[in-house]
């Protein structure tokens, strides 16, 4: 791949669960299990999956906001797993994150000016005298203006506040932004405003986005490529259109068929998957999807399929597809 900004190889995140009071035995869960993928510069890479699939954990690991249990992770050819905290701090200027709910990720006691200025102050980017001007430039990029500078978060709507979070993420001129469900808390009419804004910014500033969402319609709209996760594993990677028009993995197919589309169709039956989502703490043997897969074969219960390239830029982890 030309000029990758992120190269992740077999990365794993294990969380220790507290054992019983008397038992020495420690339990652990693998929230992300041997995930490998590349993201090239200026690309929007979408991560989709249901709750507990590890997509948010993976997002945090890419910025090393969570340590990696094993595997290797390179950002601009720098090995993130070997950096000291001082080096990491410098590097973080190039990588930023926007969360789902700005009300819980930004301080309710700071004015918009101070929220956006904070990273500029921490990294000594702009002198205090020019701060208002600098912040105003950033606010302008996200469609806010002078009148918002001295407001407190509770004086703004959800959409406006998410714009503030985006302005703050842009403050240090990063090359990579992880967007973790950035529009999930918003109403559809406002969601469309924010998505349009993100698309504009990404193109104008040639940013790389990791776009994490459970909403497949949104991910499909914004992403160049998509990775589909299930129980800590990447099960399919491919170009956005291809994954949507011709999903290969049975889970991707089921996921797409489950979305109720806002159209009256002749066939009003939604296709449903049977069964519950298994717990990551105790994933099924073999292929993790075999308990719910409509086309399961005996091999699926025994051996775990690997993520294999089926064409250029298309990877699938399924015994049926590979054979």
């Amino acid at each position: 791949m030309p000029n990758p900004i992120i190269v992740a190889k077999d990365i794993v995140k294990e969380f220790q669960l507290p054992g019983g009071w008397l038992s020495r035995k420690k339990h652990s869960i693998r929230a992300v299990d041997q995930v490998s993928f590349d993201v090239s510069r200026g690309e929007v890479f979408g991560l989709v999956g249901e709750s507990g699939c590890g997509k948010s954990t993976l997002g945090l690991m890419l910025l090393r906001l969570l340590d990696i249990t094993s595997g290797s992770l390179f950002f601009n050819s720098i090995d993130l797993t070997r950096l000291t905290s001082a080096e990491l701090r410098q590097l973080r200027r190039q990588m930023q994150i926007v969360f789902q709910n700005p009300n819980s990720s930004l301080s309710p006691r700071l004015k918009v000016l101070d929220i956006v200025a904070e990273p500029l102050r921490t990294h000594h980017i702009a002198p205090e005298k020019q701060m208002r001007e600098q912040v105003l430039l950033l606010l302008d990029q996200v469609g806010l203006g002078k009148q918002h500078l001295d407001r407190f978060p509770h004086e703004m709507s959800g959409g406006q506040y998410q714009r503030v979070a985006i302005a703050r993420a842009l403050a240090l001129n990063p090359s990579l932004i992880v967007l973790d469900e950035p529009t999930s808390a918003l109403d559809v009419s406002v969601q469309a405003q924010i998505i349009n804004l993100l698309v504009d910014l990404q193109q104008k500033l040639n940013l790389t986005f990791i776009f994490i969402s459970h909403d497949l319609n949104v991910v499909q709209h914004i992403s160049d490529r998509i990775g589909v996760m299930y129980l800590g594993k990447l099960v399919e990677i491919g170009k956005s259109e291809e994954v949507f028009m011709q999903p290969l993995h049975p889970y991707t197919k089921a996921l797409l068929a489950s979305i109720p589309q806002p159209k009256i169709g002749k066939d009003k039956e939604l296709k449903t998957l049977k069964g519950q989502i298994p717990s990551v703490a105790n994933p099924p043997s073999g292929c993790r999807f075999h308990t719910r897969c409509p086309s399961v074969i005996s091999k699926c219960k025994l051996s775990e399929p690997e993520l294999i390239a089926v064409s250029i830029d298309r990877f699938v982890a399924c015994h049926l597809v590979v054979e």
């Binding site: 709750s51 469309a192 698309v199 489950s258 589309q261 049977k274």
Partner: protein
Amino acid sequence: MRDPILRIEDLHIEFRTSRGVIHALQGVTFDVMPGEIFGVVGETGCGKTITGLSVLRLLPRSARITQGNIRFEGVDLLKISQREMRSIRGGKISIIFQDPSTSMNPLFTIGFQMNKVIREHLKFSREKARERALTMLAATGLPDVERIYDSYPHQLSGGMLQRAMIALALSCEHSLLIADEPTTALDVTIQSQILQLMRELQQKLGVAMILITHNLGVVANMCDRLVVLYAGRVVEIGESRSIFENPQHPYTRGLMSAIPAPGSRGNRLSAIPGNVPIDPGALKGCVFAPRCAFVMPRCLKESPVMFHLSKDHASTCFLAERGDLF
């Protein structure tokens, strides 16, 4: 034509807050027919949840119904005593909320809670109530119902708990079920299971259902008729098919085109500019006028009334009156 099971007429609800009076509903009118699935659609703050709660007289203390009436099977629900209301609530009309883990009592087993409700409303014995509860749990497709009957809410997953909630909500031969965002907290593969289940049970038991949601996809897949609310007013009402194929209010149209759809990549989404007004009561004219792409001088002065486009499709917009479909 049959009589509607529920008729809400010109309902006005106010909230008294520290920042003054907020007019949450301003003249909402609609009928729900027996055995149909009726959708109430809108964004945050449009009044859809308040409408649902008002039917059960479960409004918060700060809210006041200032005008209008709610008739259920011919009875004016706003005029009857608390005691009579109690027998209707849970006996004839039941409700499912978004998050099942907050609607069940965490201290009691599923079975205990179902048993109590069934004994209260159907006057069953403990044994018979247990049987009824197990039958209902099984009807929702839950496996191993005896174990689930004795489980506490935290021992079930979100999808399973919502199934149990549906079993509870339908256990007393209700004639109306209000489902307020029943699948919003669930994952999409579980959401489609629950929607399917609700439709099956609704048809089997013949109950009428009010489905309150912000998700147009859910509505399109479930509802026979629907009403679109915006800032406490009805903006469009009618048959689902007619509204989805030919939306006649700029707001409905805006909502539909704001959703990314397969193949929309590379195109701009048509966002609706601005935000929902905080107190729509303060606005003169059409409540949607400040955000409307088709606004005319008249919209800022007068409030449009409902214009019927066909027998079962009406829109609250001057453009619909003129018949020039933008």
